[in-house]
């Protein structure tokens, strides 16, 4: 074999090797499905919100994958903490619910961004992805509630079905069905309601939230669905008429609407369907059905009104002895009532009367219902003066764990308050039998729990959060006895569902019970404490800035009250109307002490919605851990010259300046290290040190592309040296923030300040609109959206003179965003100077006071508060004071008059003005009554005019030696009547 041949063979072998290597390593794409969408579940329907977990707790990550066909596709999870799953595959469907469990570890507040990567190849290259945000919170009840809701909703999502051949809609539109036994309306309604009050509305974005489509299709099923044949519609109109002289037809269309369903329990199912529609929050939305036969499809509001009319029509309404006409409902319309069915009428009609629905429930319906409650109430347990306990029976006087709270929610429907004796006795029975005797909380009766939660949430005049008899918080418990929230959350955290009347109804009701508001999204109560733990009698800061709202479009700005209960006794000790940081100190006679502090936030809805959050504050001996404080979120652009400085200098040690008692050689405790992690999870804090990370314009080397970056700061103290006998190492704390990096545009914004405003201008780059951000904190932090415009300029008020304010402008075009560099604006307060107006020039006579008038002086901001006059021309404004002043001079002459005014609101500003006063000797002035008739009028003026341009001392009024028009004018001013009339 020649060298040449050897080379050829070598070349062929090389090519062969490459081909083999390619075949081995190349992604397999043959017959792979095209990935259309990857949508991870956003917490509360908001892609910016974090799902909750706690340290080391395995939580479920949940996403939905849509593919173009049923062939194979591949996926893997990147957990965002440095780990990822193996590659797995999917096939056989075009829509997949993809879930996994993962345990995150870290300190409270540690954020993680997990990602689901899906691709048409088995190495998941060039994947389509979506993010799943997770944050580690305290391992407490609030975290457990969040995880329980998260799990329960995912279970419901996976349980919806649209594949049965028995499912149809009248117009062929898409639907989603949840079912129990032969019932398809109320399970669907309760599942939909559970989604809706957790921020997943049909009005949401289905490309960001997989639950949106489920809710929309579920509502459509309620309005337009039928099972098996169209005789079994979920809703159907019913002709109604006057009952015993009472008109149930509030809207006068002659019809009501009942839940027909396949199994017929209209009084039971109706309330749940009404609640699902009401929780949509859109009264004017189109149901797609013409129930009332007027030729046009009905709005949600019209449907709910007709369902109310149906309940009014179908109420039992016969007189019964001395009880009067009894109301209430049962399986069939007009049947003798039972207190199981009755509650659903109440829970459907109560929210229908509130804004924005404002629907009509005839008063007689409530009156008859109240008669029924009198009839079916039972009382017992005589204490010598009264029966302490009470309850409600099934079809007459009696008692039951579900029937009693059912009767209580009817009490609220009928307008009775918590002072009603029936309520007092019933609540007392629940308080006394919560975890003993009957042991209500451990009945594991979700039906009873739901009835009870409805009764407490809908109590009048305000929801009941603690029992009056023993101050027990029925929802949260007291740390010793379990509350209802923990009871339910434990089940859902462990199993994701509760099978009671089937897993759909049981799980839906459980999720609804866990929310503080039944028919709408609730506000979110949240606060941070620092330092915690701390010393006795030492100020602790409580910052509610992490509070917010679950409803799309609402945020912390919609919260109108922040009420604090320092010892969790149900009495709110202080409140603010803004999310201000408040301080409180706790005594502790015998360390350690733990104080459960509760925050209640109230929103601006009508009716107002509230939410609470409890966090324990620990008062203990040192050493205490340091407090990491990382400001932010940060905002920066790639504009040339833009810079970024990350600031952890507010971190501190609560033991600062102290050390172990009796240890003369121990140094004081203090923060000794600030360690930064600029690359997110896994959090190793090795990217820099020092209280401030001044990245300058080099930040682009750390954050190379536009996006949101999680950053962390860990501070460490010197406990080991300061408290050597504590047995503790140096203690640490972490804080986290986000750096939002944008592509640069509009890099040079110009600012022209005026008095209390600033005019901003920038290049018009043809964006859809521009958003102006404002900060008073710095060039990178504290920015809030303050204005939106389609112009390339904006005048902004709320501009504080003399204070540096920072602005950035974001250009928004479709989904694209870019950002300007920050511009710092400091305007001199003098731009708001007042204007001194001394009026004048003045004329006067020697020794006769002249009234100086500075009242025309004006202030640009606030009001003019002082007027000071300089009458002796010495430059000192100390000769007279007030908006008007009297001044006189002793000799003839022209005198300068100076006025200085001061205006004030938050600034004290001055201005000066000047004029003259001409003083003459008036002693020789003549009387203008030259004809001596006792009046100065045109006759006198004519006499003077006739002598014009002559020498006549008698008519020379100003004594200048001649008679001229000046003399005439002086006398005109002395005429007794206008125009010198006679």
């Amino acid at each position: 074999m020649t060298v040449k041949n050897n080379r050829a063979i070598g070349f062929l072998l090389c090519v062969l090797c490459v081909q083999i290597a390619f075949l081995v390593s190349a992604p397999r794409e043959t017959h792979a499905a095209v990935v259309e969408r990857v949508i991870c579940v956003p917490w509360q329907g908001d892609v910016a919100k974090y799902h909750t977990t706690w340290d080391s707790h395995p939580i479920m990550l949940k996403c939905v994958v849509h593919t173009a066909d049923t062939t194979q596709t591949w996926y893997k999870w990147n957990f965002g903490d440095g780990t990822e799953s193996a590659v797995m595959s999917l096939s056989g469907q075009t829509k997949y619910s993809v879930e996994t469990t993962h345990a995150y570890t870290g300190a409270q507040g540690t954020p993680f961004t997990a990602q689901l990567l899906v691709a048409n190849n088995d190495v998941v290259s060039n994947p389509m992805t979506d993010s799943y945000l997770v944050k580690i919170e305290a391992a407490d009840l609030d975290s457990k509630i969040n995880v329980a809701i998260d799990n329960g909703l995912w279970y419901l999502y996976k349980s919806g079905s649209n594949t049965s051949t028995y499912y149809h809609t009248f117009d062929g539109s898409p639907f989603m069905v949840w079912s129990y036994s032969s019932y398809y309306a109320s399970p669907t309604a309760s599942a939909v309601q559970a989604f809706e009050i957790n921020g997943h509305k049909e009005t949401g974005n289905p490309n960001e939230d997989p639950y949106v489509e489920m809710v929309a299709h579920g509502l459509n099923w309620l309005f337009n669905g039928w099972f098996y044949n169209s005789a079994y519609a979920m809703l159907q109109p019913v002709t109604i008429s006057t009952q015993h002289g009472d008109n149930p037809d509030s809207n006068g269309d002659g019809r009501g609407i009942e839940v027909r369903d396949y199994g017929y329990r209209p009084a039971y199912e109706g309330g749940m369907v009404m609640d699902a529609i009401i929780a949509a929050g859109t009264p004017n939305a189109d149901s797609g059905r013409d129930f009332d036969g007027n030729g046009s499809t009905d709005t949600y509001r019209e449907v709910v009104q007709n369902m109310i009319d149906m309940y009014a029509y179908g109420q039992y309404d016969s007189a019964y002895g001395s009880s009067g006409i009894l109301g209430g409902w049962r399986y069939n319309w007009g049947d003798w009532p039972d207190n199981s069915a009755c509650q659903w009428a109440a829970i459907g009609m109560i929210p229908a009367q509130h804004p924005p629905w404002n629907l009509t429930v005839p008063s007689w319906v409530k009156t008859y219902n109240n008669n029924w409650l009198n009839y079916s109430h039972q009382q017992w347990n005589w204490d010598g003066t009264q029966n302490l306990w009470g309850g409600f029976g099934y079809t007459g006087a009696g008692w039951g764990v579900a029937l009693t709270p059912s009767g209580m929610v009817q009490l609220s429907f009928a307008g009775n308050t918590t002072t009603d004796p029936r309520w007092i006795r019933s609540e007392r029975w629940l308080a006394d039998n919560w975890a003993t005797n009957t042991n209500f909380v451990n009945q594991n009766n979700v039906y009873a729990y739901y009835a009870f939660a409805k009764a407490m949430r809908l109590a009048l005049p305000s929801p009941v959060t603690t029992f009056a008899a023993n101050n027990f918080d029925w929802y949260r418990g007291d740390g010793i006895t379990m509350g209802l929230a923990e009871k339910i959350a434990d089940i859902l955290v462990a199993n994701s569902y509760w099978d009671y009347y089937g897993p759909i109804l049981g799980t839906s009701w459980s999720v609804i019970i866990l929310k503080p508001v039944l028919f709408a999204e609730a506000p979110i109560a949240c606060f941070d404490t620092d330092p915690n733990p701390s010393y006795p009698d030492t100020t602790i800061n409580f910052d509610p800035g992490c509070s917010g709202h679950s409803e799309a479009g609402k945020n912390i700005g919609n919260l109108i009250q922040f009420a604090w209960d320092w010892d969790n006794d149900g009495i709110y000790d202080t409140s603010t109307t803004a999310p201000d940081t408040v301080q409180h100190a706790f005594a502790c006679a015998s360390l350690p002490c733990t104080y459960p502090v509760q925050l209640r936030v109230t929103d601006d809805s009508d009716p107002a919605r509230t939410a609470t959050y409890v966090k324990n504050v620990v008062i203990s001996n040192p050493p205490h851990p340091p407090v990491a404080s990382l400001l932010g979120p940060y905002m920066v652009s790639y504009c040339t010259g833009d810079t970024l400085a990350l600031d952890g200098s507010n971190s501190y040690d609560p033991n600062e300046g102290q050390h172990e008692q009796g240890c003369a050689t121990c140094p004081n405790d203090t923060v000794t290290a600030w360690d930064w992690d600029l690359h997110g999870a896994p959090w190793n804090y090795t990217d820099g040190s020092g209280a401030v990370q001044n990245l300058g314009s080099d930040f682009a080397s750390v954050f190379a592309t536009a996006g949101a970056y999680n950053i962390g700061l860990q501070v460490t103290d010197n406990t080991l040296l300061a408290y050597p006998n504590s047995g503790q190492p140096n203690l640490t704390d972490q804080d986290f923030s986000v750096v939002n990096v944008y592509d640069g545009c509009l890099c040079e914004v110009t600012a022209t300040p005026g008095c209390n405003y600033v005019h901003l201008a920038w290049d018009n780059i043809g964006a859809d609109h521009y958003v102006v951000y404002r900060s008073t904190t710095g060039t990178d932090i504290g920015f809030e959206d303050t204005a939106t415009t389609t112009e390339n300029f904006k005048d902004l008020g709320s501009f504080v003179m003399g204070q540096t304010t920072y602005y950035r402008v974001m250009a928004v075009t479709g989904e694209s965003r870019c950002l300007s560099k920050a511009i710092a604006v400091t305007a001199p307060p003098e731009l708001c100077n007042p204007t001194a107006d001394p009026k004048g020039p003045y004329q006067g006579c020697i020794g006769v006071p002249v009234t100086l008038d500075g009242s025309g002086s004006t202030a640009q901001t606030g009001t003019v508060i002082t007027w000071e006059w300089d009458l002796d021309n010495d430059g000192e404004y100390d000769d007279a004071f007030g908006p008007t002043a009297q001044a006189s001079w002793d000799a003839a002459g022209v005198y300068p008059v100076g006025l200085k005014v001061v205006s004030s609101d938050n600034l004290v500003l001055t201005d000066t003005g000047s004029t003259t006063a001409t003083i003459r000797d008036c002693t020789q002035e003549k009387s203008c009554d030259v004809n001596g008739d006792g009046a100065v009028n045109i006759l006198d003026i004519n006499i003077i005019n006739a002598a014009r341009n002559t020498v006549n001392p008698a008519l020379d009024m100003d004594g200048n030696g001649v008679v001229n028009v000046l003399d005439s004018r002086k006398c005109v001013l002395k005429c007794n009547k206008p125009r010198c009339a006679q």
């Binding site: 100003d958 028009v965 004018r969 005109v972 001013l973 009339a981």
Partner: protein
């Protein structure tokens, strides 16, 4: 009616007012009119600067050989004399001697004057008829010892004066000034200016 050719030069050249004084002047700096036709000049006040004019008494000089005074009309800035708001005290030029007395007294209150008057406005319009060819001047008699303009309080206002109006009386079209005409005009202008300067110094 013969066509009137009026050329208005609205630029006052080289004048600078004294601080605090009001300016009495004419709206026109020069006019070219045809022999036998009527024309008018406007007596103006300006630079009022927060002051008001409550009364005035001003004499206007003109050449009676080249034009005749046919009457004057007051504006309403001091009040409407026909409505009893002001008194027209003008004597006019009853003898046709070339000196027109224009005078007015306001009967309004000072705040009414302030509301009615701006920084500058017209006091009166003087009407003339062109009698003969030539060039002559219409100007304020700044030497008149009775000349006065006062404010709303009846106190004299310090006065400054604008240039007189040059009136060129022509026949047919407006002619190119001949050297003799230019000399006559220049001589007249110099004399007028000299008189004013002398009186101001005095």
């Amino acid at each position: 009616m013969k066509k009137i050719i009026v050329i208005v030069f609205a630029i006052l050249l080289g004048w600078a007012g004294s601080a605090g004084a009001i300016l009495l002047s004419f709206a026109q700096s020069s006019l070219a009119v045809l022999e036998g036709d009527s024309f008018a000049v406007d007596l103006m006040v300006s630079e009022l600067d927060n002051a008001q004019v409550g009364e005035f008494d001003i004499d206007i000089l003109y050449n009676p050989l080249q034009m005749s005074f046919t009457g004057s009309a007051l504006d309403n800035f001091l009040g409407d004399s026909t409505a009893g708001e002001a008194i027209d005290l003008s004597f006019g030029d009853p003898g046709g001697v070339g000196a027109i007395d224009v005078a007015e007294l306001s009967l309004l209150f000072t705040d009414e004057l302030a509301a009615r008057q701006a920084m500058s406005f017209r006091l009166a319009t003087l009407n003339f008829t062109c009698l003969a060819l030539g060039t002559s001047m219409i100007g304020i008699d700044t030497a008149d010892s009775w000349l006065v303009a006062g404010d709303g309080a009846g106190d004299a206002l310090p006065l400054e004066f604008g240039s007189p109006v040059e009136v060129r009386q022509t026949s047919g079209t407006a002619p190119v000034p001949e050297p003799a005409t230019m000399l006559l005009f220049a001589t007249g202008l110099a004399g007028f200016a000299g008189t004013m300067l002398k009186r101001q110094k005095r």
